[in-house]
């Protein structure tokens, strides 16, 4: 079933906001998505009816909250096509998920000379944790290059993989280029040399069906706030047998089995990795977001957004002096990046804001990719289920007006 975005939009209270005298045109979903009423209400309902600390209370509220919280763990597993809930660790966001792997797995199993293979299109969150590990432990970082049209250059993959490669960590969908990477192929290649594979799914989960059984990776990370869920919660999925072998990282309440004054033993995963009181209300919100997205149908979401991206590429091509980044044909998801010389993306964003349009300008937390693309900053318009083709038309109009204002056409 195709989406009906104009009906959908009514479910997002913020979309009736005005910016000055203009309606809000929100084109920054890749930074964070807006939230449907179902998600907001799920959290309100949690606080109004069920709020209690989880796991320990021998009373009704706490049992209900625990059942909900653990139920969302199962829901996440089903949503990702993971075999069971044991591999689902609730974290704050994608960034924390990757840091958790770098600390609890990386610092335990990687030694000097071991290699971690990244790509040139990673978000800082999948670069900087590995920089620290490289500095601390002498782990060597390598990078899969990209082609000029913004795809992974997989012809280089076999040369980059070797017996020293212990982990391949890559983005599923680029937050800059919109490229959908063939992660299945990379996972297979990684496994062939005995390396594990982490997939950063922050920009995939909101936009297309994700099936971990098909992908075959060992770690998968995403943030709720980018998939119509709340801030403050995200997920690291890890293969349970790998999770079981990882060292404790942040520790305290909930993570322990037994504590003496001078030592402690730890609980099984995933609990070992959820220190202190978790984001319980946020779990309720994440659960609601999954239900809501599932009811829409991820296939329909993907179709809707592919059409939007295609429309955006077509319409933006009409703008004089525009430069588009990323693959000129599919598979693409969610975002289009561009510059319109000589107007700096920052100036462009400010001018578009005057027309009520919210786009992002800058390096999009992907400075090395910007360098590879030969720029320091781009403008990015990114889409969600609520985005209308007519909003992309407004974007093009507003860019043209800005060019006029800057005296270029």
């Amino acid at each position: 079933m195709a989406l009906d975005p104009s009906r959908l939009r009514a479910e997002f209270p913020i979309l009736s906001r005005r910016i000055g005298d203009r309606p809000l045109v929100y084109l920054d979903t890749a930074a964070t998505s807006q939230k449907p009423r179902a998600v907001i209400d799920a959290m309100t309902r949690y606080y109004e009816q069920m709020n209690a600390n989880v796991h320990r209370g021998a009373y009704r509220l706490s049992e209900e909250a625990t059942a909900m919280y653990e139920g969302v763990r199962e829901k996440v597993a089903r949503f990702l096509g993971a075999p069971g809930p044991e591999g689902v660790v609730f974290v704050r966001n994608t960034t924390e998920a990757i840091n958790l792997v770098a600390h609890a797995w990386g610092r335990k199993f990687l030694k000097a000379g071991d290699e971690v293979l990244l790509t040139e299109m990673e978000h800082h969150s999948n670069l900087v944790p590995w920089h620290l590990l490289a500095k601390e432990r002498g782990v060597v970082l390598r990078h899969i290059p990209i082609t000029d049209d913004g795809r992974l250059d997989l012809s280089r993959l076999d040369a980059l993989l070797g017996s020293r490669t212990k982990l391949v960590s890559l983005v599923h969908v680029s937050n800059v280029l919109g490229t959908v990477n063939p992660v299945e192929d990379v996972v297979r290649a990684a496994h062939r040399v005995g390396a594990l594979c982490l997939v950063d799914g922050a920009q995939a989960v909101p936009h297309r069906p994700v099936d971990l059984a098909a992908i075959g990776c060992d770690f998968y990370a995403f943030s709720a706030h980018k998939m119509y869920g709340p801030t403050g919660i995200g997920v690291l999925w890890a293969r349970p047998e790998i999770l079981a072998g990882m060292d404790p990282f942040m520790v305290g309440g909930e993570t322990i089995l037994e504590v003496r004054l001078d030592r402690s033993t730890f609980r099984e995963a995933p609990y070992r990795f959820e220190p202190g009181t978790p984001a319980v209300a946020e779990a309720a919100g994440l659960g609601a977001a999954i239900d809501w997205l599932t009811a829409l149908g991820l296939d329909a979401v993907e179709a809707h957004e592919t059409a939007l991206v295609d429309h955006a590429w077509r319409r933006l091509a009409e703008v004089p002096g525009i430069r588009m980044y990323g693959p000129s044909s599919g598979p693409r998801a969610g975002a289009v990046c561009f510059t319109t010389d000589p107007i700096h993306p920052h100036d462009l964003a400010t001018c578009l804001d005057q027309d009520g349009l919210a786009v992002r300008a800058g390096h999009h937390c992907a400075q090395p990719l910007m360098t590879r693309l030969g720029t320091v900053a781009t403008a990015r318009a990114s889409f969600g289920v609520y985005t209308l083709p007519s909003e992309i038309d407004l974007l093009v109009d507003s860019i043209l007006r800005t060019r006029e204002f800057f005296g270029c056409r």
Partner: protein, 142 residues
């Protein structure tokens, strides 16, 4: 769910007068386990002779549910061939997960009185503690 149906008479009786409390002189299996949620613990001693649980004793601190469960368990295990004892443990766990059909758990005897604990999720761990210790203790034995 009333208190009476949770704390049935047989449970209260075993709680107040637990069977087989104590230690064995030369146990074949000695295992301690604790419940991380409340800190309750159990130490279980087993003698295994001729493939049977020839003797069993327990010590521990815990609530009525965990103590009654341990006491009732010792009665069930006492003298049972090891495979049968393990089957009882499996059946008990199945019952506590709510997966047994009507009357399926009846062979366990009095301990079916603990089925009501299922309504109290955190308390299920109390009922399972002794049984988990048993299973862990005989792991790999046959």
């Amino acid at each position: 769910m009333s208190l009476e149906s949770l704390y049935q008479e047989i449970i209260m009786e075993h709680f107040k007068a637990p069977r087989n409390r104590g230690e064995l002189g030369q146990p074949d299996v000695s295992i301690s386990m604790n419940n991380p949620f409340c800190g309750d613990d159990i130490t279980l001693h087993l003698s295994l002779k001729d493939g049977k649980v020839s003797d069993v004793k327990f010590r521990g601190r815990g609530c009525a549910i965990s103590q009654a469960s341990a006491s009732l368990m010792t009665e069930i295990l006492q003298g049972k061939p090891l495979p049968d004892a393990m089957a009882s443990a499996a059946l008990f766990k199945k019952m506590m997960r709510g997966e047994t059909k009507k009357h399926e758990a009846d062979p366990l005897g009095d301990i079916v009185a603990l089925e009501g604990v299922r309504k109290f999720p955190v308390r299920v761990k109390c009922a399972l503690l002794a049984w988990s210790a048993f299973e862990e203790g005989v792991k790999g034995k046959k």
